[in-house]
């Protein structure tokens, strides 16, 4: 009896070892990734073994962001549609923590064929590939025909979207990253509250400060999820204060650009905004708690927060104040009569230089702009920069995407890529993280500006052309 028992227990132990081998699940706590992350787990469809020779199979790694959460299976549907149109099979890896899932294999030299992962994320995987010049040139994709249709890819993408530093990082006219899922970023607020109190949405910063002084106790003007969300805010601010000329020079760290009156105005605005920010914001501005900061707007404890259109889906289940209605406005104008600006957030799809099936990968990228793919993406709320799509939007999304029709300028592009230098931080560390310090008083505006200038000089010296 005793022997039988010990044999049973031993075999149970061995079996539990095998069970661990079988699961490919993604464990982890609430590690949502701002800015395009959701709050729950996305299923991890780890790619299986490659198909036997004869058919080409490409591996596509896509980030499971808020759009995938709003419409689970979105990416799988697109891949299936691609296989139906071209016969090329697709192994899809779709995960919320994509960098952790594909990173180790890539460090060993095995690259997926197509990666959909934007710049501006904390782990900076795409930026690292840009710095290492490890991305395939896809300028020729623009003149390819979209699989299943007769139009060329270049004709299907809205003008200007392949002309920015987001897609052409080396300023040489060649496109390396394909623009995906554009969404205007702006200040989100509770439109219901504004109606109730009879407030008008400020169109200039002076009106903004006037509104802040009127607020009741317990309500602050501003909050932000994490400092990472300030990138869109800063771009739009620079664009609206200084116009496209100043904006483009600032993105390339021109000498003395941070001493100009426009730059000083930007810094002053952010400093003043920090003083009107809900003081508990920095305490919750981390990966665990950033949704609590977003909750402040839902609870009328803060009026505005910088965010993107995914916020509606991300906070869909959260409790909110009575009469809550999502509203979005562009950043106010610098002075009355001017235009506000809204940063156009673009995600990117790209092909690593070490991709095993380059041609098939380019076909996949071309397919992402087909009507079929655009329709599937739209179900999850992800809008491709293809003309005519915004006409079919409904509800909140329609309001968000009409922001440019209401007089706001569109800002696009990002800080120029620079060679990694020991001791020099990332753009986020230099420009954005100190905002936490501005709010809780541990960093002064002058310190911040001095650090920005010093880092900017180094970045300019190492800019990648």
């Amino acid at each position: 009896m005793k022997k039988l028992l010990s044999v049973l227990l031993a075999s149970l132990m061995v079996l539990s070892l095998l069970a661990a081998c079988g699961s490919g699940g993604n464990n982890g706590g609430q590690n949502a990734q701002p800015p395009s992350g959701g709050d729950t787990q996305a299923p991890d469809n780890s790619g299986g073994d490659a198909e036997p020779a004869g058919d080409v199979t490409i591996q596509v790694a896509a980030l499971a962001s808020g759009y995938e959460e709003a419409y689970p299976g979105m990416w799988q549907e697109v891949c299936d549609a691609f296989t139906a149109a071209t016969g090329i099979k697709v192994d899809l890896i779709c995960d919320k923590n994509l960098e952790d899932v594909i990173g180790p294999a890539m460090q060993g030299g095995e690259f997926p064929d197509v990666i959909h992962l934007a710049t501006g994320r904390e782990k900076g995987l795409t930026e690292q590939f840009i710095k290492d010049r490890n991305i395939a040139d896809i300028t020729d994709v623009l003149s390819m025909t979209v699989p299943g249709e007769s139009a060329k890819v270049g004709d299907k993408i809205v003008g200007g979207f392949t002309d920015t530093s987001v897609t052409n990082p080396y300023n040489d006219g060649k496109t390396y990253l394909a623009p995906m899922f554009y969404s205007p970023c702006g200040l989100f607020y509770n439109a219901g509250l504004f109606e109730e109190k009879g407030w008008t949405v400020p169109t200039t910063w002076d009106e903004m400060w006037a509104l802040a002084d009127e607020l009741p106790e317990g309500t602050s003007l501003f909050t932000y999820p994490t400092t990472g969300y300030f990138d869109a805010f800063l771009y739009a601010l620079m664009y609206s204060v200084g116009g496209p000329d100043f904006y483009n020079k600032a993105l390339r760290y021109e000498e003395g650009i941070w001493d100009t009156p426009e730059a000083q105005q930007c810094f002053d605005i952010i400093e003043k905004l920090a003083s009107y920010t809900n003081p508990i914001t920095p305490a919750q501005a981390n990966d665990q708690d950033f949704t609590q900061n977003q909750q402040l707007v839902l609870d009328n404890k803060a009026l505005f927060m910088p965010n993107g259109t995914w916020i509606v889906g991300e906070m869909a289940e959260a409790p909110r104040a009575d009469g809550f209605q999502w509203g979005m406005t562009a950043l106010p104008a610098a002075k009355s009569g001017g235009n506000g600006a809204s940063y156009c957030w673009l995600e990117q799809a790209w092909i690593p230089a070490g991709a095993p099936n380059l041609d098939a990968a380019k076909q996949f990228v071309a397919f992402l702009y087909s009507d079929a793919a655009c329709a599937i993406f739209a179900k999850g709320g992800a809008i491709q920069p293809v003309p005519g799509l915004t006409d079919s939007l409904e509800g909140d999304n329609k309001m968000f995407y009409s922001i440019y029709d209401n007089g706001a300028d569109a800002a696009m592009g990002n800080f120029a890529a620079y060679d990694a230098v020991a001791g020099l931080g990332t753009v986020r560390e230099v420009f954005l993280d100190p905002v936490n310090g501005l709010v809780n008083g541990s960093v002064t505006k002058d310190q911040w500006i001095a650090d920005v200038k010093a880092a900017s000089d180094q970045m300019r010296a190492n800019i990648m052309e």
Binding site: M106, K123, D132, T227, Q288, G423, T426
Partner: protein
């Protein structure tokens, strides 16, 4: 002669798998860390350029690294002292006094040790929440006014991390000390109390010296594990840049695409922990007391 040769071959075979795995997964990567610190490369690119000692030169002037190491030292000192104090005291109480439910307490204290750091971060998120979090609610209820301490903001963040780390580590060491304390024979205590020694004197003169070797070994382990756990806690609980420790600095350099620089930081941290443990080992050396 033959017998011992066979025996040593058998022993070598038994030890071989563990030794080989240890070599491949522990020794080789450590050597690689040292090697990579003299080069510079991106995380995903295969080419590397030799830079010699320049990584180290920049490292020692990097203000972020200096402040990260200061945080590390602060955490090591405070967490070690607080954990060991409470672990030894609780172990002494649970062993000496005949408290009912002794095993129950052992289990309760040990549970935090088996929780994953992400789970602990989630628990403390709820505890440290500024509005309606557990700590602030209790403090408000006790003091009568509305207390809103920002536990995870710049001023309090180190204390918050210390509390979480101590909470996680106490159980493990308490259980270990309980085991070694129960090996101390009771008649020593009896004869001591006959001679007029009180509880406190018994603790310092009998218990502590007899478990001293145990304390020494666990101290070395704990210092090294704190360096690692501090990184995990800071990564899971705290906003980026607010309270970086040595290893999170190293991790951030990977995100910036500077693998060689990150490895240089790794080398410095490795040597630091090595020297610190050796130092602590030397300082706490005493004659071994046999019972």
């Amino acid at each position: 002669m033959r017998r011992s040769k066979e025996r040593s071959r058998f022993i070598a075979l038994c030890v071989a798998p563990a030794a080989i795995l240890f070599f491949i997964f522990m020794v080789l990567p450590t050597v690689n860390v040292f090697r990579m610190s003299f080069f510079e490369r991106g995380a995903y690119s295969p080419t590397e350029t030799f830079v010699g000692l320049s990584n180290f030169k920049v490292l020692f002037q990097d203000a972020k690294f200096i402040s990260a190491m200061q945080n590390t030292v602060l955490l090591i000192v405070t967490v070690t002292l607080v954990t060991f104090f409470f672990a030894i005291v609780f172990a002494a109480i649970l062993t000496r006094e005949k408290i009912r439910g002794q095993n129950f307490f052992r289990v309760i204290f040990y549970i935090p040790n088996i929780l994953s750091v992400v789970v602990i971060a989630g628990i403390f998120s709820a505890i440290y929440k500024p509005e309606n979090g557990m700590l602030n609610s209790i403090l408000s209820a006790i003091s009568g006014r509305d207390i809103m301490i920002l536990w995870k903001d710049q001023q309090m963040v180190i204390i918050s991390i210390i509390i979480a780390m101590v909470w996680q580590a106490i159980g493990y060491y308490m259980v270990m000390y309980m085991a070694s304390m129960s090996a101390v024979p009771m008649d020593l205590y009896e004869s001591a109390s006959l001679d007029g020694a009180g509880r406190l004197a018994q603790f310092f003169q009998i218990t502590l010296p007899l478990i001293w070797t145990n304390i020494r070994t666990t101290l070395t382990f704990f210092i090294i594990s704190t360096i690692n756990m501090a990184f995990l806690f800071v990564k899971a609980m705290v906003a980026k840049g607010m309270a970086d420790v040595g290893l999170s600095f190293m991790y951030n350099q990977k995100d910036a695409g500077l693998y060689g620089y990150a490895m240089a930081a790794g080398v410095v941290i490795f040597l630091f922990s090595f020297l610190l443990s050796a130092l602590v080992n030397k300082v706490t050396q005493r004659d071994v007391l046999e019972m």
